[in-house]
Symmetry: C2
Subunit: 378 residues, 2 copies
């Protein structure tokens, strides 16, 4: 397994799952469904194992990959999904208190099949979907049984016993919206059942405005941490796809039509760096009318202040809450002025805002490294 396959962003792992399904190739999907203690990766981490093709994705920092590979062969042979738990908390000094080689890690292994198609279809379409999979219990359901929950439409069908679906429905919204993943144990009239609930959320969208050389480092880094990136040039033709080869989309537009350019929602982040005052001002003004949670504006603070003065002169006012979404000077304070250092500071800020984090040393953070939502019904 090459390192580049192991460290693929989630988008690319889902792409491989989709192409494997389309090719009707045999493969096993391994998903971390529960972690106790500390681990390198969290529930929801995925690895696709093909008997011939390359493995993609990762479920630990490397401690379990060999064991999972061996089990995957069994799963392919007998065709049945299974759940396996590894307890790595022993006081053994070789494994010790390692991260990734620590904690109790539970993994679902399943032959990749049609039950996963709605997931990759939703992912590709940019829609959030809740995936519910039976992973244990005494109720009348087999490991691997699966249903889906769509935020607007509810459960796909009544694949699961109705009593269980009723129990699960209430807390699902929050989990799915957060893109969280957790295994819950439910005591229903049908008996106990363990269900792995995963909110599969497509990656956040990043729209970068500009056409200079300084755009590409931002695109490259944002792709590595799994933003879906669109580059918009205000100077027709300059920001051609060759200049930003990793962008998912490149388009040319007038600064006056930014508002209508696409759907602007809470999962879309904007970085304005055309280096042209008027163009940036038009873009900013229109972005402020949208619900985007982040508008990064390159340049010194006084440049933004001048824009605000012009808004005021033209009789346009924005509330403080609206203006709080404007991050200028753009980026986290990390130092360095080389193109990739500047881009790094921008993308670090995007990550922090997208994950609702206060940027600080984890050493100084109170609480666990990973956020968790507790959805265990009481």
């Amino acid at each position: 397994m090459s390192t580049s396959d192991w460290s693929l962003p989630e988008t690319d792992v889902f792409d491989r799952i989709r192409t494997t399904l389309e090719a009707e190739s045999e493969a096993v999907l391994a998903t971390v469904i529960a972690v106790e203690g500390s681990a390198y990766r969290r529930p929801g981490a995925k690895m696709l194992l093909s008997p011939d093709g390359p493995e993609v994705g990762s479920i630990t920092a490397g401690c379990l990959e060999d064991e999972v590979r061996a089990l995957a062969a069994d799963v392919l042979a007998d065709g049945a999904p299974r759940v396996e738990t590894w307890d790595l908390t022993g006081d053994d000094d070789v494994w010790g208190l390692g991260v990734g080689c620590n904690g109790v890690i539970t993994v679902l292994l399943e032959p990749l099949g049609e039950s996963y198609r709605p997931v990759v279809d939703a992912y590709r379409a940019g829609e959030t979907i809740g995936v519910l999979t039976v992973v244990g219990g005494e109720a009348d359901a087999a490991i691997g049984d699966r249903t889906y929950y769509r935020p607007n439409d509810g459960f796909e069908d009544e694949t699961f016993p109705e009593a269980i679906q009723d129990e699960l429905e209430a807390p699902l919204g929050e989990v799915i919206d957060a893109g969280d993943a957790e295994t819950v144990s439910i005591d229903s009239s049908d008996g106990n059942i363990e269900v792995y609930v995963e909110g599969v959320r497509p990656p956040p969208e990043l729209v970068v405005f500009g056409s200079g050389h300084d755009i590409d480092p931002v695109v490259k880094l944002a792709k590595l941490v799994d933003f879906r990136v669109t580059v918009v040039s205000f100077r027709g033709g300059q920001a051609d796809a060759d200049r930003v080869p990793r962008a998912d989309a490149v388009m040319s537009a007038s600064p006056r039509e930014v508002g209508e350019l696409r759907q602007w929602d809470r999962d879309t982040y904007a970085v304005v760096m055309s280096h042209n005052f008027l163009d940036d001002r038009f873009a900013l003004e229109q972005l402020l009318e949208t619900p985007v949670p982040y508008i990064g504006l390159m340049g010194p603070r006084k440049r933004f202040d001048e824009m605000r003065e012009e808004f005021t002169e033209e009789g346009r006012t924005f509330t403080e809450a609206e203006l709080e979404r404007v991050y200028t000077p753009i980026g986290l304070s990390l130092g360095g002025d080389a193109p990739f250092q500047i881009a790094f500071s921008i993308v670090a800020e995007l990550l922090a805002v997208a994950h609702d984090r206060t940027p600080q040393h984890l050493t100084q953070r109170i609480g666990p490294i990973h956020d968790r939502i507790d959805i265990t019904p009481d």
Copy 2:
């Protein structure tokens, strides 16, 4: 000019300067020597322009590159260095208050020649050097005249009038140590002279301990922001160069010989992520005996606490100041658990520590984005 050449880390720009010198190819070196107002890049930013070969490096976000290219042809033709100032602060709404297309930017253009060899030699050898270049004034010195200042040895020779060297010597240490760059105006008994002073500091060193797949994303990102990276594996052979193709060096060692492995100084940063408790503990213990400013340790806080308990049991104690260099959990709080997201948080922390920054949104930072040291003698 391709984007990848434009955004090359400084290390690679210096490499190209060196190979161009070695090949005795014609080229012009453009260096930003002063900026008033806001600009994308700071003094010290470099671009190498060859009549045939590719251009590398960047001096603005793209606003001046065309003008510099035209001037470079003149410089090559007449062989004389020149200094050019562009005032982009006009109230013109097309350029406007852009970043990189703003401020007053002064650039030194010089035919690349032997006077730059001591700089690339020092850079390659990992030594800091001060470069002093005449860029104006009335004194008896021509634009492009150059001398060097080495922190331990002082001025190379008396290329500059002694009175001027005397004036410059006092503040040089701080500028050079900070890797800063500034143009200073000196009134000496020889008359006024403008000298561009640049502290050329080799990139910081990063040593990553471990041999898992999770090392490579850290190496890749650290290289993009210009760390010189060595990977040390405690499991002989596993961390082969193929797994971390971008590392500058890969070596195998015993966890007990970390202290003697290399020179550990204030410019060397350590990331400990072998995922093995004992190995990490040995590494940590020895790193604590060195002057390295940063020891990142992957894993939860309690893992470090257990290590400390073992140190105490063995009668080893460390002061709070020594322990403050241990960053665990490693990384900035940016969220995300995919391999590149974890690596991003680690490298963001490295950047902040290396640049002595408090990680926070630049929006919240008081003062200018870029640090400056004022060395103008009074």
